[in-house]
């Protein structure tokens, strides 16, 4: 068992428990919870020719009516094939420009503000060479309130790299309404606990619709929106899950389980 994972234990109402550690001890501050977050995901692939998808998500702390992001990437490593506005930009006027190699710029606007929590942008890119790691940096990010003032935004950069983490498997079968609780050694940055950084796939790699919710400062749960069909599933916990200090999880985790 890797050092960042403790034993699987049973809780009162919990069928299973994973405990992860975050690299650095964190200091809890109220400010960290009040600021909006724009983050890019990590795509786990490193082989030349493979196509990866990177998502940029927003977890707004206050209502916003517009914003902008500028991403930079190594254009010798990634060739952008498609960019798309995310569902969180439905109803917004949106402009995305990926014509200039190495950068993607997106901006969006609406007359009235709303709390934005979800996908701002996704892009697909082909790996132009085999890589160990390449960064997707958020160079600039702004969110604007309807009164045109600026919101405080914290950004988390994304990556493309081969999956470096541990792959675990639960031997016994679980029920179809299985609720997983993931416990971390340190307080988690709640804005990074979302379906972009924690997801469940079936054996064909298809995403399963789950709710990912912070339950307390150090744990979150994963609940299926509809009962799982019988079969084998994998939970992936990205190293984009971050502590209150913004530090990434040391390694990502894949955890396989089978529904009876």
């Amino acid at each position: 068992m890797p050092e960042n994972m403790k034993k699987l234990t049973m809780g009162k109402m919990i069928a299973g428990l994973m405990a992860l550690s975050i690299v650095q001890p964190s200091i809890l501050t109220e400010a960290a919870e009040a600021e909006s977050v724009i983050g890019a995901t990590t795509a786990y692939e490193g082989t030349k020719g493979k196509v990866v998808t990177v998502t940029v998500y927003v977890e707004g702390a206050e209502e916003s009516a517009g914003g902008s992001i500028k991403l930079s990437y190594d254009d010798t490593a990634l060739t952008i094939s498609k960019t798309e506005a995310g569902s969180e930009l439905d109803g917004y006027l949106t402009s995305i420009n990926s014509a200039s190699p190495g950068t993607i710029e997106a901006t969006w606007a609406k007359a009235e503000g709303e709390l934005q929590k979800g996908t701002l942008l996704t892009f697909q890119a082909r790996l132009a060479k085999t890589i160990e790691k390449t960064a997707v940096n958020i160079e600039d990010a702004e969110l604007y309130k309807a009164d045109l003032s600026t919101l405080a935004v914290k950004t988390f950069d994304g990556e493309v790299k081969p999956f470096p983490g541990s792959e675990q498997k639960r031997d016994s079968k679980v029920k179809n309404n299985k609720e997983w609780i993931v416990r971390l050694n340190n307080a988690v940055h709640p804005a990074t606990v979302n379906k972009h950084n924690v997801w469940v796939t079936n054996k064909y790699g298809k995403l399963i619709d789950v709710n990912v919710q912070v339950s307390d400062k150090t744990s979150f749960n994963i609940v299926p929106k509809v009962p799982y069909a019988s079969g084998t599933y994998t939970i992936t916990i990205s190293d984009q899950i971050r502590g209150q200090d913004g530090k990434q999880l040391k390694n990502p985790i894949k955890y396989e389980f089978t529904v009876e």
Partner: protein, 473 residues
């Protein structure tokens, strides 16, 4: 020109019918070094220095100088662009008083290839003092340019001077002095009923130059902020007035938001027979020789090769009226009925002059901006037009006239609202008397004749034009 009615029929919008597209970096092939024309309302202006239409670049030299004795604008620094600071070029700059000297050299023994044929060399930051007040402008003189290209050969370069204006940048809208999503948000709020009433902000928001604010303006602002659009160059929308068979026609299409000088070209369609487009000025002049309606597209190219186009329509009618008196634009408060003249003075084809009744169509004044009022003159089939500015303010509160018998001089006194910064009367600046009042005394004013009062904001934008007959009560 004797028959000016078509010139007189004022500029107006053709939003629904207009076809509008824009391209960047068009046909210009001459190598240009350009100092940007920049607007700013903040205490700084950042001006790009760009080289265009060049494939290989070995080295270059340029000097950019502020006008002598300029105290309101000061050169702060020059920041080379990424391309001119990485391994491709070594860039050196030096500021001496009002002059900035820039030199750059290829870091390799060979000339560097310039992708896309153009590159921003860097950005000059100027500090703007409080005395650089709204509406003011300074020229940034570009001189002593020398450029070497492939094999160290000299390249002939056309120099384009720059300018800094204390005005709101096009697309800024909210006073950030840059184009961001907030400009688009504010335009969308305007469309939702939270109106942009300040003239400078409205003109900054009307990026497509059609006189009204629509979602298209917001979209273009967003595209500019992401770099999808590199210029707001546009041909101003205009509903061109009718021409009359065998009567002189004069109209002009105008470019906005690009770099002068402009050239104009017909791209498609047919201009009415007998009329010609002046490619340097945008004027459409001539004697129409065939009745009918013609739609055509004009393309404008600016000094740096950007292009934009718009379609226009001219109808030519056969009428016994040759021309109509000049109608000035009319301001009307939103939701109110414009005060359009019931009759107009016309010149008939036999050169006689008379009055004709106008039957004006309904004018939609629910949206701020420009609309065109159209009226039929009697049963002639002749259409007369007037530009109506739908506003939220009455800029002109009151006009009164005085008379000094001893000197035989009339005085015009106008009371205006606080947004008015200057007033002209028959083109002559009026004196500010305080408390929102301006006056002008002149022997040139004559009783019974109209005086033309024009009100401007602090940026020099025309807020209102009013023609008023000089009458002593």
């Amino acid at each position: 020109m004797a028959k000016k009615w078509l010139k007189a029929a004022a500029a107006s919008i053709i939003a629904a019918a207009s076809f509008y597209t824009i391209n960047s970096a068009g046909a210009a092939t001459e190598t240009l070094m350009e100092v940007g024309e920049v607007r700013s309302t903040s205490d700084q202006a950042v001006v790009p220095v760009t080289i265009r239409n060049i494939t290989y670049l070995m080295s270059g030299h340029a000097e950019i100088t502020l006008p002598e004795n300029t105290v309101s604008v000061e050169t702060a620094q020059f920041t080379p662009s990424k391309q001119f600071t990485n391994n491709l070029f070594r860039t050196i700059s030096n500021v001496e008083d009002s002059k900035l000297v820039i030199d750059f050299y290829s870091e390799s023994p060979d000339a560097q290839q310039i992708k896309g044929g153009q590159a921003v060399i860097g950005y000059i930051t100027y500090n703007l003092s409080d005395s650089f007040t709204p509406g003011k402008a300074v020229t940034l003189d570009l001189s002593a340019v020398s450029v070497k290209g492939r094999y160290n050969a000299d390249v002939a370069v056309k120099e384009l001077d720059g300018e800094i204006k204390n005005k709101m940048p096009i697309g800024d809208v909210v006073g950030n002095s840059k184009v961001t999503a907030t400009g688009a948000m504010r335009i969308l709020q305007h469309i939702n009923g939270n109106f942009i009433t300040e003239k400078e902000a409205f003109l900054s928001a009307d990026v497509d130059a059609d006189g009204i604010l629509t979602q298209q303006d917001a979209m273009q602002v967003l595209d500019f902020s992401t770099g999808k659009r590199l210029t707001f160059l546009a041909l101003a929308a205009k509903e061109l007035p009718n021409g009359v068979l065998k009567s002189e026609y004069y109209e002009k299409v105008e470019a906005r938001h690009g770099r002068a000088p402009y050239t104009f070209k017909k791209r498609s369609g047919t201009i009415p027979y007998g009329l010609k487009l002046n490619e340097q000025t945008g004027e459409i002049i001539g004697l129409p020789t065939k009745a009918g309606t013609n739609t055509f597209t004009i393309e404008v190219t600016d000094a740096v090769g950007d292009t934009a186009e718009r379609s226009f329509t001219i109808g030519v009618v056969d009428s016994y009226i040759a021309s109509v008196e000049k109608l000035y634009p009319i301001n009307v408060k939103r939701g109110e009925k414009p005060n359009l003249p019931a009759e107009v003075t016309v010149t008939y084809k036999d050169k006689s002059i008379g009055k004709e009744t106008v039957h004006w169509n309904e004018v939609d004044t629910t949206v701020l901006g420009e609309v065109t009022a159209k009226g039929l003159i009697g049963d002639t089939g002749f259409m007369v037009q007037a530009t109506v500015h739908v506003v939220d303010e009455n800029y002109l509160k009151n006009t009164s006239f005085g008379y000094f018998q001893m000197l035989n001089i009339y005085t015009v006194i106008v009371d205006v609202n606080p947004e008015v910064y200057s007033v002209t009367i028959n083109g002559i600046p009026a004196h500010y008397e305080g408390a929102g009042q301006y006056s002008l005394a002149s022997a040139a004013f004559t009783k019974g004749n109209p005086v033309i009062i024009q009100l401007y904001d602090k940026y020099g934008n025309l807020l209102e034009t009013k023609s008023q007959k000089l009458v002593i009560q």
